[in-house]
Symmetry: C2
Subunit: 211 residues, 2 copies
């Protein structure tokens, strides 16, 4: 009975048993005003594939994640839509310190893995240099009775909404970013200890542009 | 020989033989400065499903389409990325006047169909009231040798990038918008006379919010 209970807790909060000494991070409140004017941001939107070493200040990481898919209304709705408001997308955050899950409602980072797995988030050499690699993961278990093809379609579109927010935040903030499809999804999912229902859609590197 | 040539031209420019009296529209140059600050725009990003009648001023339509996926660099790259820069997404624009294709490089509307097909772009009653319904169409023929599932995934993500730009432009401009998956794709594709390789991913209504 107790074992079943522990198993249920671990199924709900897999981070509990994986994170080792990695601690949760309470992000500072996001700065939800300011930034460059939208049209200028759109003019500067681009992909960059060269990154300088360095970590993002906590306030920048907070703003980045809120821009990506943070709560922007009292009813818990977000900066990016999801099909039928299923909110099936999770954003994992791979940094030098380890792998975290962005817990949207609490605006915090939940520890997942005390290991720098940035290099495993993409096949390109530059991904290990980016301060942060976001890994977009769809939880098909939250997507109801849609067909398998529709789950792929909806979760990919929902990834696009989030990823474009990241692009625009980076353009506004002068950060380099690129979204990437070239990911060894099987190896990465194993490393992240994802359930079979959790599907990696895309990944996105964010960091400092080379001078 | 001449017939073959005409057929080839029609394959490249299907609009030529479908548009009847609908004329091409040279959009005014987009206003690529201004708009609200990005973080405020993200704070105001939402879906709205009630629209007042009315047409968009040509400058607003120009800005909207440029924001969506316009050219923002000298090399022809755009405000939204596409997988491997395939630029496989087309944005069709359904208005009261008829159906157009947004021709990105020339920043113009090419006539496709002299008919108001707004009501056919979604299953919801409100779609007929929106000033504009955008229909996102992936041309799988431009996507190389990707697997069918990857073509769905990439084109859906590429739709999401564009659609989020539309959301943010609408938030900045005080317009109502909602992206929609509930589309009778078979019926709409037939009406739009799409090739089998052209796949409707999503549609998006844009217009005036009800007071």
């Amino acid at each position: 009975m107790r074992t079943g209970c522990v198993a249920a807790v671990l199924a709900l909060f897999p981070a509990l048993c994986l994170a080792g000494e990695l601690k949760a991070v309470a992000l500072p409140a996001p700065e939800t005003d300011g930034g460059k004017p939208l049209m200028q941001v759109l003019k500067e939107r681009k992909s960059a594939r060269e990154f300088e070493a360095g970590t993002l200040p906590m306030q920048v990481l907070s703003n980045l994640l809120w821009a990506a898919t943070g709560v922007n209304r009292a009813d818990g709705r977000r900066t990016a839509p999801t099909a039928s408001n299923r909110q099936e997308m999770d954003v994992y955050v791979a940094t030098a310190a380890g792998l975290y899950l962005y817990e949207v409602k609490g605006h915090r980072l939940e520890p997942v893995l005390a290991e720098d797995i940035r290099a495993a988030t993409g096949t390109q050499a530059y991904v290990r240099d980016a301060a942060v690699n976001l890994v977009y993961v769809a939880d098909f278990a939250r997507m109801g009775q849609s067909s398998p093809e529709n789950k792929v379609l909806y979760s990919a579109a929902d990834t696009g909404f989030i990823s474009q927010n990241v692009y625009l935040y980076c353009a506004s903030q002068g950060l380099a970013t690129v979204v990437r499809a070239s990911v060894d999804r099987e190896a990465l999912a194993k490393k992240m200890k994802l359930r079979p229902d959790q599907r990696i859609t895309l990944a996105q590197s964010v960091g400092y542009a080379t001078k």
